[in-house]
Symmetry: C2
Subunit: 207 residues, 2 copies
Amino acid sequence: MATPVAAERSNQRYRTRKDLIAAAARLMKNGRKPTLEDVAEAALVSRATAYRYFPKIDALLVEAALDIAAPDGEALFAEDASSDPEERIDRAEAAMHQMAFANEASIRVMLAATLTQAATGDDDVPVRQNRRTPLIEAALAPAKDQFRKASYERLKSALAVIFGSESMIVFRDVLRLDEKAARQVKSWAVRALVRAALEESRRPAQG
Amino acid sequence: MATPVAAERSNQRYRTRKDLIAAAARLMKNGRKPTLEDVAEAALVSRATAYRYFPKIDALLVEAALDIAAPDGEALFAEDASSDPEERIDRAEAAMHQMAFANEASIRVMLAATLTQAATGDDDVPVRQNRRTPLIEAALAPAKDQFRKASYERLKSALAVIFGSESMIVFRDVLRLDEKAARQVKSWAVRALVRAALEESRRPAQG
DNA sequence: CTTGACATGAGATTTTTGTCTCACTAAGAA
DNA sequence: TTCTTAGTGAGACAAAAATCTCATGTCAAG
């Protein structure tokens, strides 16, 4: 059997794997969930090979979505002297926002692919990764000691809800707002949340 | 005229349509996207008939998701004398939260079915409906005149992001928090947002 | 009751999706 | 170079999903 598992041939395996992922990423951009056959063809690889690497196409789609450049906390705040958490969070949100709306179609495909799996408890299945929390932590880092522990954790989770690509779905499909309006709402919300967490951390009673 | 004669058959059509939707709703509860064949069988209807009613299964799944009881603003605040918007919003959120987590599997299926369509601009395709905004408006109603117009609109949109079933996905798949933790975060966040909107509406400068 | 129009059911058929086999190619070791 | 072996391609095969056709059943008007 030709199951790619031995270590020796790793270059070859790595390349075809990479080609498959790249091809999938390319196909996702038009918003349609591609079939494994589509991907194989686009990657100039036989159907059988494609199936060998990704028995479930969902796994491939998730991998492909990782190609989408996510804002990196380190880079984003590299030469940013400011330590005002409100400003920094807003800036981080702007970066995520821009990324999400620029890759809307691909993100939708990936989201749809993962949605039905977490529920069924399938475990050979890809899991959503969390790229927003590191970004949020980087933004809050300079001010971290101004928060109480509980406030800080709560704030991070709440911000994660606003930051994510899921919120884009709400703005587009449910509220029917355009990108600019969405950004304004999110900007206001994240700032308000940061302020609220800061304030309650300053007050003596309660956490 | 021949038309009214033909139209009289609507009872029959209505019943099979209803049966199909009910069957789909039943099948969605286990979190797997059912096949039209599955639905047809469960509805005691032939495949061909099912396909006649719903050429795309996604349309059927969306219809079926409507069966899920959404909290109704009128009923929820019927005997609630309180007019404190913070309390009322929190209460509304609790209701939505309970509904969303109780029907997680079905909601995931519906969400996945709609995600890839809005993007492609398919128009014979069902559209997400918005049940959360009326609820939010009902909760804010008694205090509506305490907000500036712009603040009010922004608040509603921000709350819609927190309220929705999409936030459940974030808590579960991305943050890996359980239902209780999710509720606490959301409760804190919605209250903070309401307070922020109220406060900025009281202040003279800026909107 | 009869009739016409429509809805339905039961396959046949086609398309799509996933699996398997086997020969061939090419990479790395000797 | 030659040998060994993992990775690949081509296509047969199987299973599932979607579409089409036509005979039958049933409703309601006359």
